[in-house]
Symmetry: C2
Subunit: 355 residues, 2 copies
C-alpha cells in the first residue's frame, strides 16, 4: 500500500496524507482523524527509503563495536572467534542500553561488529551510503582514529565509548568514559575504612589509560591518608587472569604481606582467588580482595567479590542521548565526560581490628 492508494481510497491527495503523517498544522481535525483511521485499518506505513530520499532523516544510528586484532594482547579473555564479543563484559549492557535509549528517542539501531581492517570499509560505507545519521564507536584503538576523524570531517555525527587518550584532539566528538580514577579512590578508601593499612595492588596493563588511572587513584589516596607503601606492594599485571594469580602469589609471599589487595580488574581477581586458595589462605578472613569492573561473574565467585562497578549501561545511555542530540541539532557536540564508578560491597573484604 502506497500513499497514493490510501489517498484515492479517501478521495484526498498524497500531499494531504503526507501532511497528517508529518503533523503539519492547518489540517482540520476531521481530515486528520479520517486519515489516521485509514492508516491503521490498512496497516499503511510510509516507505522509509522514499521518505529518506525526500529529505526526512532516517532516524537510525549504528553501534559499532571495534574488536580489531593488532598485536596487542586483549583486555579480556578470548577463546574462539565465536566468543570474542560474548566474553567481552560490556557487549551486552552496551548494546542493550543503546537500543533502549535510542528506542525511547525514536531511533533505530544498527549493530556492526568489526573484527578486521576489512570490516572497517564496511563501516565507512554505512556512513557514505547514508544508512545512518550517526554512530557510537566502542573500544576504538589508535589504528581507527583516522577513519573516525575523516568521518567527523565529513560532518557525520560520532560518539565514542571506552576510548581513551584522544581528549586532546582538535576533532569535536562525544567521548564518554568511566571514571577510573574516582573508582580507584573509592576502592582504596573503603579498604582504609575497614582498618587496613597495609595494602597491595595488582595493576592492569599500564599502557592503558584505565590501568594508569586506577594505579594513580590507589597511590594518591594512600598518600593523602599519610600511608607509606613498600615498593613491593605494587605488582605490575596486565589485566589477565594469570597475572592476577602471579600478582597475588608475589604480594603474599613477600616480607610484608598486605592485609588487603586492590586488584585492578575482576578477571585478575579470579587468578588471585586461585593463588590465595593454593596458599592456604582464606578470603576475607586472612586477606581482603577488592576488584574492579563488576564483571558478570563477580557475584558468583566464592566469596562473592567486592568490586567497583562501572555502569556501561549508563555510559552507553549517555552517549546515545548526546549523539542523537547532535544529530537533531545538526551539529556535532564536543563533550568529554566521565561516568561515576560505584563501590559494590560483597563478601571479599573484612574489617580489621584496629589493634
Amino acid at each position: 500500500m502506497r500513499s497514493e492508494d490510501l489517498a484515492k481510497l479517501l478521495g484526498l491527495s498524497r500531499s494531504t496524507i503526507s501532511r497528517v503523517i508529518n503533523n503539519y498544522p492547518d489540517i482540520p481535525q476531521a481530515t486528520r482523524d479520517k486519515v489516521w483511521k485509514a492508516i491503521e485499518e490498512h496497516n499503511y506505513a510510509p516507505n522509509a527509503s522514499a521518505r529518506n530520499l525526500a529529505g526526512v532523516k532516517n532516524k537510525m544510528i549504528a553501534i559499532i563495536l571495534l574488536d580489531i586484532n593488532d598485536n596487542e594482547e586483549p583486555h579480556h579473555v578470548k577463546t574462539t572467534e565465536d566468543t570474542i564479543i560474548h566474553d567481552n563484559p560490556f557487549f551486552s549492557p552496551v548494546v542493550n542500553a543503546v537500543s533502549d535509549q535510542a528506542n525511547k528517542m525514536d531511533y533505530y539501531v544498527l549493530v556492526s561488529i568489526a573484527y578486521s581492517k576489512k570490516d572497517l570499509k564496511k563501516v565507512q560505507n554505512i556512513f557514505h551510503q547514508k544508512i545512518i545519521d550517526g554512530a557510537i564507536f566502542v573500544g576504538t584503538q589508535e589504528a581507527e582514529y583516522e577513519l573516525i576523524f575523516n568521518l567527523i570531517e565529513q560532518n557525520h555525527k560520532i560518539a565514542m565509548i571506552d576510548t581513551s587518550e584522544v581528549y586532546n584532539t582538535d576533532h569535536d566528538a562525544i567521548y564518554i568514559n568511566a571514571d577510573n580514577y574516582e573508582g580507584s579512590v573509592k576502592a582504596v578508601s573503603y579498604l582504609l575504612e575497614l582498618g587496613h593499612t597495609s595494602l597491595g595492588i595488582i595493576t592492569g596493563n599500564l599502557k592503558k589509560l584505565s590501568a594508569i588511572e586506577r594505579l594513580k587513584g590507589f597511590e594518591q589516596t594512600l598518600t593523602q591518608h599519610g600511608i607509606e607503601r613498600h615498593k613491593d606492594a605494587i605488582y605490575h599485571g596486565d589485566f589477565t587472569e594469570n597475572s592476577g594469580y602471579d600478582g597475588a602469589k608475589h604480594l603474599l609471599s613477600g616480607p610484608n604481606p598486605p592485609t588487603a589487595i586492590f586488584v585492578s580488574n575482576d578477571t585478575m581477581a579470579i587468578g588471585a582467588y586461585k593463588a590465595i586458595n593454593e596458599l592456604g589462605l582464606r578470603i576475607p578472613e586472612d586477606i581482603s580482595i577488592i576488584g574492579f569492573d563488576n564483571s558478570f561473574f563477580s557475584p558468583y565467585l566464592n566469596p562473592a567479590l567486592t568490586t567497583i562497578e562501572i555502569s556501561f549501561s549508563d555510559i552507553a545511555k549517555r552517549a546515545t542521548t548526546l549523539l542523537i542530540e547532535s544529530i537533531e541539532q545538526e551539529q556535532q557536540r564536543r563533550i568529554v565526560e566521565k561516568e561515576d564508578a560505584t563501590l559494590i560491597k560483597r563478601e571479599s573484604c573484612k574489617a580489621i581490628k584496629s589493634m
Copy 2:
C-alpha cells in the same frame, strides 16, 4: 557525491556508473577500472535509500528480542529494567552470531528489543516501512504469534529462535531450537557412565517445552538402562535459583538420597550448591551435580559446574543463514531444526566405585 557528479567527472553517464557498481556484463575492463578507481578516490557510495527505492534489496535484517512481560514468571533472573536482557544468557551470543553471519552474507543487522506490547507496533512498522527484508524473532511467546503470522501472510520472511510449540502451525517459517531432549540424554548417560545408579532430577517449569523435554530425556534414559526410580527422585522446580535450593534439600533429605542430581538449568544449580553446602556435603565427593545451559557463570561456580551446552551461537547462525536464503530466494522456507546439545565436563561430577 552523487553518481551524477562522478559521471560528469569521468565523462560518462550515471547509467554506466551504476552498471559497473552492479556488476553488469559487457562493460570493457578499462571502463570498469576507471570507474572503480574514481569511486575509491572520491569515497563514493550509492545512496542506500535511492537504490532501495529503485528496486534493489536493502540487505538488512532485524533481530527482534521479545521480552514482554505478561504474568508468566521469567525463565531467567531479572532485576531492574536495565539488566533484563543483560541477564539473559543468550542475548550476547545471539546478537553476536547473527551480526557475524549476516556480515559474512553481506547483510546489515538492526537490533530491536521489545519490552511491551506498545513496542510491538514499532516492530511491525520496521516491516511495513520496508526497512528490513526479514527478521529473526527471539523468545517469542504465544501473545506474539498473531503478529508474526500476520507478517508471514504479508510475505515477510521470518525465522524464530527459542520458540516452541508452534511447530504444528500451518504458517511456514524457520524454527530453530536447541535439542533439549538429546542434551538431557547426554547428561544422564554421563552420570550412568560414572557409575551412578541412584539419580535425582530437579525439573524446570513443566509448562515450558524445554523443561518437559529435559525431564523426558531423563526418564527415558533411565528406563532404557533398566534403572528403576523412586517416585521421590523427581522434584518439580521452576528454573529459579530458589527452586534449585529447595529441590536439593528435598532430594538429599529423603530416605534414598541420590548420589547424583540432574538439575534442569544452571540457575537452579546455584541454589542446589547453596543447599548442599548447608547440608555439610561436598560436591562432587558426596554428591555429583550436572546442570543445563552452560550459562556464563557455570565455570565460575565452585566447583566448576559440569553442564550441557546449548550453543546459542550455532542456533543464531543457522537461523540467520536460513533467513537470508529465504530472502534471496524470495520464498519463505519452512524449516524445523534442533541443534545439538553438548556435554561440558567440569568438576562437579565424580565417578563412583562400582562397589
